[in-house]
């Protein structure tokens, strides 16, 4: 892009440097003015084109970010003036058992939903990569859950996980397992919520993997087959290493998603969703933030939680970056 722009500007007939001498002789102002406009145009237009994104980002991304940071250093309630409290909101979180509980829940829910989701997505993508009859149909079908809204999916799952008449407990009854209280016990509730997340996102990740898998050169497989590698060995030794950057990408994206987990536990809990169950057994950081901000109206504390979440995400991002870098070095070696 840059080179092509430069080419046009250079190519436009009289460049501004010889212009003064010619204008002195003939007094032809218009060409010089025009040239300057052209130059301005070629220089400025790219900025104008990218401006909408950055203006929107500044308004809805950067400003809230900074403002939240400012709020987090104050005690603010809706309807009253902010009072400077320094880092009290942060130190308060450090001593707060509900915050730690939410952090632990976010972590366990993240692991419970992300790990099976990505493993299943890998397997699914591998299967879809074969020459199947009706491949197109299957590929669209795995994406359908992703197109479902969180609310709709969660409502259906709530019915399925209902302890009294839900499908899953009925099935468990037939199989001879005991009655599981999906809502009130900690692990069953977390597993149920993770199931919703896994269901929604597996297909999406599978399609990303599939795209990466199709870019793997066929000769690699041929060579592996010639060496007598089984399908499984091909998958482990050819496919996985070839799509490693993609796997890393999906891990980052799902980790971010897991850290922000909100809608599913909120709706799953129904009347006690904001506190993540009666004993906070599945209250995530986002829910805790929401609880502080909207239920209680303490915007300062909620902002502090938001910033801690951002820091956690940055930390995760940094770790991922390090892994990616060592990974690249390995591939380069």
């Amino acid at each position: 892009m840059a080179t092509s722009v430069r080419a046009t500007s250079d190519g436009s007939p009289p460049s501004s440097r010889p212009a003064p001498s010619t204008s002195d002789q003939r007094g032809s102002r218009p060409p010089g003015w025009r040239t300057r406009l052209y130059r301005f145009d070629t220089k400025a237009s790219p900025y104008a084109y990218v401006a909408p994104f950055f203006i929107l980002f500044a308004a809805f991304g950067l400003f809230p970010l900074i403002y939240t940071g400012w709020l987090s250093l104050h005690q603010v309630e809706l309807g009253s003036h902010a009072k400077w409290v320094g880092f009290d909101n942060y130190t308060g979180l450090w001593d707060n058992e509900f915050f730690w509980k939410a952090l632990r829940n976010t972590f366990t829910l993240g692991v419970l939903s992300t790990v099976p989701q990505l493993l299943m997505a890998l397997g699914l993508a591998h299967l879809l990569n074969y020459k199947l009859r009706g491949r197109g149909f299957f590929r669209v079908a795995v994406l359908a859950p992703y197109a479902t809204s969180v609310a709709a999916a969660t409502l259906v799952f709530i019915q399925m996980f209902n302890p009294d008449y839900g499908m899953i407990n009925q099935l468990f009854g037939h199989l001879g397992f005991g009655h599981v209280d999906w809502e009130s016990s900690k692990w069953p509730a977390q597993i149920a919520i993770s199931t919703i997340v896994t269901w929604r996102w597996t297909g999406y990740n599978a399609l990303i993997y599939l795209a990466a898998m199709q870019a793997v050169p066929a000769d690699l497989y041929e060579a592996a087959a010639l060496d007598g590698a089984s399908r499984w060995r091909q998958f482990v030794n050819v496919t996985i290493p070839s799509i490693r950057p993609t796997i890393l990408f999906t891990i980052i994206v799902s980790t971010i998603g897991a850290t922000q987990l909100f809608g599913e536990p909120l709706m799953f809990g129904g009347g006690v969703g904001v506190t993540g169950g009666t004993d906070h057994q599945y209250q995530t950081l986002s829910l805790y933030m929401y609880d502080k901000g909207w239920n209680v109206g303490e915007l300062g504390q909620a902002s502090a939680v938001a910033w801690v979440m951002l820091l956690i995400l940055l930390l995760i991002g940094a770790v991922n970056l390090l892994i990616a870098r060592s990974n690249r070095r390995k591939l380069g070696a």
Binding site: L37, N162, T278
Partner: protein, 451 residues
């Protein structure tokens, strides 16, 4: 990529034009917002003005499904047109009202406030934004039930709202189930038996649970939280003292309600539902006969009927509670920043006068909070076809008049939520012990409340 200079320039101009348009549009709309919603200023009695009434749920005033009070007012004052801005969700309504009040913009001429938030609204930072009805001609706090206007009174004596409806509570009970369990079924006998003491109500529940003939799988009460709320509503001291300071940990009323509700939970008398839960488990449990009694405010009677369906018709009855309390009801407040404060105040007074409250009651069933309206035969003689022979109007009107007022504070709603959802419901759902549940609730209240 290769575009001639002219078209590129045209494109730039177009983009610039679009951007200008965009700013113009947003500029226009924000101007509109800043402008009062009313179409003209000044307040001469003949000038045509529009008054906006902001409320939530259904207040029963509107011309389509309600008592058509707006049309009636327009007939009395041809120059005044009323537009209602109704939001269905009460919590959402309050959150945006709170924002509008802080920004002093986007406010309607009249704003409704639910009793659950009035404790917040009478705090100095919000109360100063509303007209003080004490200074308004024709306002007399004694026109309403004594507790009603007290709830809308600030610590320095301002009254920021006029009362619409009230929510006196009673006991809805399943006559069929009571009969099977060998308990009395007559509402007067029951009311006389447990009169004045919630413990007697729990004792009856124990009899119900011990009975071998009671319907299988049916608990005595729908929820420990509902019981807690009803008992607490009947207590003269609740979560806050007269200055609005939280005293939940020393309040005798909270102690009583907690002990009654937890005893019911520990004895296995409650079915562990949350009243009005969004997943509708509570609503569905009416049809599957999971409980025999519900502590029900006047506005819940309709829900008992719709949730139970035709099969439950004639099975349910309503009896006076051991001690009466109030759950629900609203106020109309007039923001000072409006352009037609005088007209809005007059309209708010008219809407909450006895005559109008009776009309809303007849059309919509909202129990009036005006004492004169409560004595009106139209209210006293009300019966509900779903509960044949039950003197619904008499029970609730009597209950409404016997409620003892209790001080309320800004944190009441939060504390109530924590005690019922994270305390009592946790006992019901997870078998947490009574002491642990209380200490959990206290810990969370301390985390929530910043005083």
């Amino acid at each position: 990529m290769r575009t001639s200079g002219r078209t590129r320039k045209a494109a730039v101009i177009a983009v610039a034009g679009l951007a200008a348009c965009a700013t113009l549009i947003t500029g226009c709309s924000s101007d509109k917002k800043d402008d009062p919603k009313s179409t003209s200023s000044g307040s001469s009695s003949t000038e045509k003005i529009t008054l906006h009434v902001g409320d939530f749920g259904s207040f029963g005033y509107d011309d389509k499904t309600g008592a058509a009070l707006y049309a009636e007012y327009h007939k009395l004052h041809p120059n005044i047109t009323i537009v209602e801005d109704a939001v269905s969700d009460g919590q959402q309504y309050w959150n945006s009202l709170k924002l509008h009040l802080t920004q002093n913009s986007g406010l309607d001429d009249i704003q409704a406030i639910e009793v659950g938030y009035i404790g917040l609204a009478i705090q100095p930072n919000l109360a100063s934004k509303f007209v003080d009805f004490k200074t308004v001609a024709g306002f007399n706090a004694d026109d309403w039930l004594p507790y009603k206007e007290k709830q809308a009174t600030t610590s320095d004596g301002k009254v920021i709202g006029v009362g619409t409806d009230a929510g006196p509570t009673a006991i809805c009970y399943n006559k069929d189930a009571f009969q099977k369990a060998g308990l009395p079924t007559d509402r007067d006998t029951l009311a006389a038996n447990w009169n004045g003491d919630w413990q007697k109500f729990i004792d009856l529940g124990k009899q119900f649970a011990a009975s071998k003939t009671a319907p299988k799988g049916m608990k005595f009460s729908d929820s420990g939280s509902g019981l807690f709320n009803a008992v607490l509503a009947s207590q003269p001291t609740q979560y806050s003292d007269a200055s609005g300071k939280l005293i939940y940990d020393t309040s005798a009323g909270v102690q009583t309600a907690w002990n009654i509700a937890t005893e019911a939970v520990q004895e296995g008398l409650t079915a562990g539902y949350q009243q009005l839960d969004p997943a509708n488990a509570w609503a569905a449990a009416f049809k599957t006969n999971k409980f025999a009694t519900v502590t029900c405010p006047s506005w819940m009677v309709g829900l008992v009927a719709t949730n139970s369906g035709d099969a439950g018709k004639g099975k349910w009855d309503v009896a006076a509670p051991p001690q009466v309390g109030n759950w629900g009801g609203s106020f109309l407040a007039v923001p000072k920043s409006g352009k037609h404060v005088k007209e809005a105040t007059e309209l708010a007074q008219w809407l909450t006068s006895a005559a109008q409250e009776i009309k809303v009651f007849q059309k919509f069933g909202n129990i009036p909070s005006s004492t004169k309206a409560l004595d009106d035969p139209a209210v006293q003689n009300l019966v509900n076809p779903y509960f044949p022979d039950t003197p619904m109007g008499k029970i609730f009107a009597t209950a409404a008049k016997n409620i003892t007022p209790a001080p309320i504070g800004p944190w009441d709603g939060n504390v109530k939520d924590i005690i019922t959802k994270n305390g009592i419901l946790d006992m019901e759902k997870r078998g947490t012990s009574k002491d642990k549940a209380w200490s959990n609730a206290v810990k969370q209240i301390k985390d929530t409340v910043v005083e």
